[in-house]
Amino acid sequence: MRDTIIAILLGGGTFFAVVAAIGVVRFPDLYMRLSATTKASTLGASLILGGVALFFDDAAVTGKIAAIIVFIVLTAPVAAHMLGRAAYFSGVPLWKESVRDDLGASGEWCKREEEGGGTEG
């Protein structure tokens, strides 16, 4: 029974992780790839780690795994945000079929240009 639950957790995690990988290859622009990988890999890794915690059934191991999961959940979105934002301001284009760009319409873009342009060595 426990093995089954572990297997389900591991299998599910693997599924999401692989889906993330496929998404990274298949999606047409950076922002969607980012979107896909952040969610899927976070969930995938968390599920697998959960399975592992169950497998060892040891307080120390569980503690460690909890730490990893907290950490991934905490950092993955921030990382995606940092990357996406930097990409956007450095001119990585949206997919050609994108329907809307509020950020481009705002003045934020120009402000960045002034600020960031001067730092290039």
Partner: protein
């Protein structure tokens, strides 16, 4: 590179990472880890801080000069080795306390040595990154 999200996240991450780096250092003798990895993780914490809040901010939090960390680390490692000389034993001979200490197990000069490694590694990584970022 002001990012509110990063700044906030780093505020949470810094203590966590430092905690974890100490954990790696102290448990390294019995489980994966050790002074080197621990030191790098500690350095990573401050590098993140520097990326989010600027080097000046990171230096303020760190308070000591990274160079002093390096010196202190080398001194610690050297001292842990010289200690045995005073007992007529060869350089770097491990001396161990008889009483077990929580978390660490036994306490001994090799752990002191590892702490020296930790300090050197953290100090050097910060020295390098800070010098580069301050340019």
């Amino acid at each position: 590179m002001q990012s509110l999200l990063l700044a906030t996240a780093v505020r949470l991450l810094l203590p966590l990472l430092l905690l974890f780096s100490l954990f790696l250092l102290l448990r390294g003798h019995n489980e994966p880890g050790g002074g080197f990895v621990g030191g790098l993780v500690a350095a990573a914490a401050f590098v993140l801080h520097a990326l989010a809040h600027g080097v000046a901010g990171a230096r303020r939090v760190l308070r000591v000069e990274p160079r002093q960390l390096v010196a202190a680390g080398l001194l610690t490692a050297l001292a842990s080795g010289v200690l045995s000389l005073t007992l007529g034993l060869p350089f770097l001979t491990g001396l161990w306390s008889t009483l077990p200490v929580p978390v660490i197990g036994h306490a001994g000069t090799p752990l002191l040595f590892d702490a020296g490694v930790y300090l050197v590694v953290a100090g050097m990584a910060l020295m390098i990154v800070f010098s580069l970022m301050e340019e």
